[in-house]
Symmetry: C2
Subunit: 464 residues, 2 copies
């Protein structure tokens, strides 16, 4: 079977169904490739011929003399078989079929999809879709037909996202761009006439630039293979699974949505967990955890220390640590002595460590220096409330410095308005994930800690 790399790093692309009218799906996709700098290496194909953006339109891929390795098909469903057949003849390696109107629409659509499958078999061409958004990769491939002002494309980053739902995928991409979350490879695979979640996971397993895999799934036809694959991938990089159709009512909703059987959700999720996946319930939860996994090393244990300048947030954080099954560690004597030497007498130097309301960068520096060296500390939750006049932007540097100096995970929680948002952005930009509340930071840390334990228990040294 051919590799999937042609979907993400094609050398020459045909957009079949490139339209003469602006804003039409085929036109948007063609322009995406032009804007990404494909130049002559993207050709518009349309039975009507003519010109688009001053470029010759080919009536079929067969009319084009150069090599092509990827086709994006955006013609009405009934024309798809012929277009795909021509791709096969042209020896194109891979095709993304954006068009809907297949098995999701009923019997005649399902029959058309069978025809597609026969053509796939005949030529060995790899196909993503039909009925999907296709592929987005910030290095150039963009088959999303949604306008850029509605769906702002995210920056390049280490998280790859696979989704069975196109709309969920587009909302997630748009959200990621707003949140500054970097995405490597995005695949909306639709009806999976050929490529499915198992294939994509197998590809991403060995993909150098994918560090964390996040996945929205409603149901699978290959439960056993999915389990085996997730198990293999998890040994190398984390897989976060958002399973929709979790409940009975939800799974009935899946049936009307993608026509696939959700299966027993409890069994599915238990199996995914057993295979090392991190199972989540919501999208913000998925990215809270993905950011922590991407930016931070894995902890060697579950002993957490908290440092804060607000006692209340320290208490909320301790509550969350207990709720999530982590351990509020006992600090070493040396740590306590070292930090006490640099703090006023009214600071509370234990765990949670409350540097109190007049804490400044200097006090945080002393605390973090001691905590990252403490053998009793496996990971740190740093809480910085920037509302006081003592908490300036110099605290940002202190957090960044501490994180650079340690291989223990540090997650930051900071609630507030504009000043806080800016401080969080700077800290996150430098590599420490930040959260609006202690509970969310701790929830992410708990997932990371569980994943680390999963690997440890199996004597797996993290690859990649």
């Amino acid at each position: 079977m051919k590799a999937l790399n042609y979907f993400f790093e094609p050398k020459a692309v045909a957009v079949i169904g490139a339209s003469h009218k602006p804003n039409k799906f085929g036109r948007v996709i063609f322009e995406n490739f032009v804007n990404a700098g494909f130049g002559d290496k993207v050709i518009p194909v349309n039975v009507k011929g003519g010109e688009i953006l001053g470029r010759k339109v080919y009536k079929s891929v067969l009319e084009y003399e150069g090599d092509l390795d990827l086709a994006v098909i955006v013609v009405p469903a009934k024309f798809v078989p012929n277009a795909l057949e021509q791709c096969g003849e042209k020896k194109i390696e891979a095709a993304v079929i954006i068009s809907g109107g297949f098995k999701e629409t009923g019997k005649s659509g399902a029959k058309l999809e069978e025809t597609i499958k026969e053509i796939i078999k005949k030529y060995g061409i790899r196909v993503i879709g039909p009925n999907c958004l296709g592929v987005f990769h910030a290095r150039g491939v963009d088959t999303l037909f949604l306008p850029n002002y509605k769906l702002v494309r995210p920056i390049l980053g280490g998280i790859s996202f696979i989704t069975q739902s196109g709309a969920t995928g587009s909302a997630v991409l748009d959200w990621a761009s707003e949140s500054g979350i970097g995405i490597d490879k995005f695949v909306s695979y639709g009806n999976k006439a050929d490529v499915d979640e198992v294939d994509i996971l197998n590809y991403l397993k060995n993909d150098q630039t994918t560090k964390v895999i996040a996945m929205y799934i409603e149901g699978t036809d290959r439960g056993r293979e999915l389990f085996d694959t997730v198990k293999k991938v998890s040994a190398i990089k984390p897989v976060i699974v958002l399973k929709a159709g979790d409940s009975e009512v939800g799974s009935r909703a899946v049936l009307s949505h993608t026509g696939s059987l959700a299966g027993s959700s409890r069994v599915f999720k238990a199996a995914m967990r057993q295979a090392g996946a991190i199972v989540v319930q919501d999208i913000d939860e998925m990215f809270d955890i993905a950011r922590a996994l991407l930016m931070q090393p894995l902890p060697v244990g579950d002993k957490v220390s908290i440092v804060t300048n607000g006692g209340g947030f320290g208490v909320l954080c301790a509550d969350a640590i207990d709720r999530e099954g982590l351990k509020l560690t006992e600090l070493s004597r040396k740590t306590i002595a070292d930090v006490k030497a640099e703090s006023p007498s009214y600071a509370v130097i234990k765990n949670p460590m409350d540097l109190v309301g007049d804490a400044d960068a200097k006090r945080y520096r002393a605390a973090l220096k001691a905590l990252i060296r403490d053998p009793n500390v496996d990971s740190l939750i740093v809480i910085t409330l920037f509302q006081t006049s003592q908490m300036g932007m110099d605290v940002v540097d202190v957090v960044i410095d501490a994180d650079l100096k340690t291989d223990k995970p540090i997650l930051l929680a900071s609630a507030g308005g504009g000043f806080t948002a800016l401080a969080r952005k700077l800290i996150e930009g430098a590599g420490t994930p930040t959260y609006p509340t202690p509970a969310r930071a701790v929830h992410a840390l708990a997932a990371v800690t569980k994943y680390a334990k999963y690997l440890r228990d199996r004597n797996i040294r993290r690859g990649a």
Copy 2:
């Protein structure tokens, strides 16, 4: 006992400890009152005399001839008894003692606090503090000594917030301002030498402009009275309680933070729930629920309908409804017939109702019109994914119109970037609470629905 209204609507204020140096706490607070337009009705008091901002500084409140009803005391702890004594002599109704250095610091501080209590008793003056941020009310009172660029003051709104932790309070206010959440009265009550959470709740119970009460609490000395008071208040307006020190480790942390015993958290929370309070675990959860309660009417039952233009989000929403103990309702025949008449054949017209990827304002209008009239629908979750070209700003008007026409609660979920953020802001500004994911919207709706049931079960018609 004197009423607490002098704290929120004083006619004339003394700032005792108003400093000659900019940025000092006493100076910031004095300027807050000047900037709020108190004019001659705020006087600076400082034993050094002189002038501040061209205004005469009084050496004591006794030196001032006019009437005063509120004093804000910002002098070092050891000078507080004398300052408060003078307030008593001057017949000032109420004082906020910002200063720390009392029972939170140990034995000698505790003794000083006892002295304070004796003076309170002697004069019947009402006191908030010591060791607190005090009071913020957007109509003018602002004893927060934190600079405005660090702690941006929120707009006036219907939520009043009471907090045992000053730092938590300041972070929450700053966050509320960033999120556009309106705050009515804010009280950080510190060591509660006099006024405590029970007193404030009793006051807010009858306060016309407070529609929803949110409360951060670590522990109480008056468990029985708190229970009785919450029960009375809940019958009139909702009380949301964030109890910190939830876990054993958290409750030990409370002890080092405010020196109060957290008590058995499980018992406390069960009692609060029994008294009608909505108990939450995190700050974002608290405001997710507060916004829903503030902006929307209570549902008459637990039957929820979902409308969406993305099937995946519909499934996630159905999952959340099941998880939260709500009911995914069966739509009436009329609703289904009416919406089908206005939708393409490939739309999924049941519950969740999936208007599919090419849905526009017209399709949403038809769906919402039918759903708000459906007797089987008690509340609505509206999901709008704005990434498609068909979903324009006209959808915003459709949601707002529907919400104006119904007394059923509508909560909106919408994930995305800039376009979505703007649409959400407009919708929220018009009175429909919005959430970044279906799960968060449903969680808020579940709390609102539970509160409605609490009132129904007791035959309470909501007051206010």
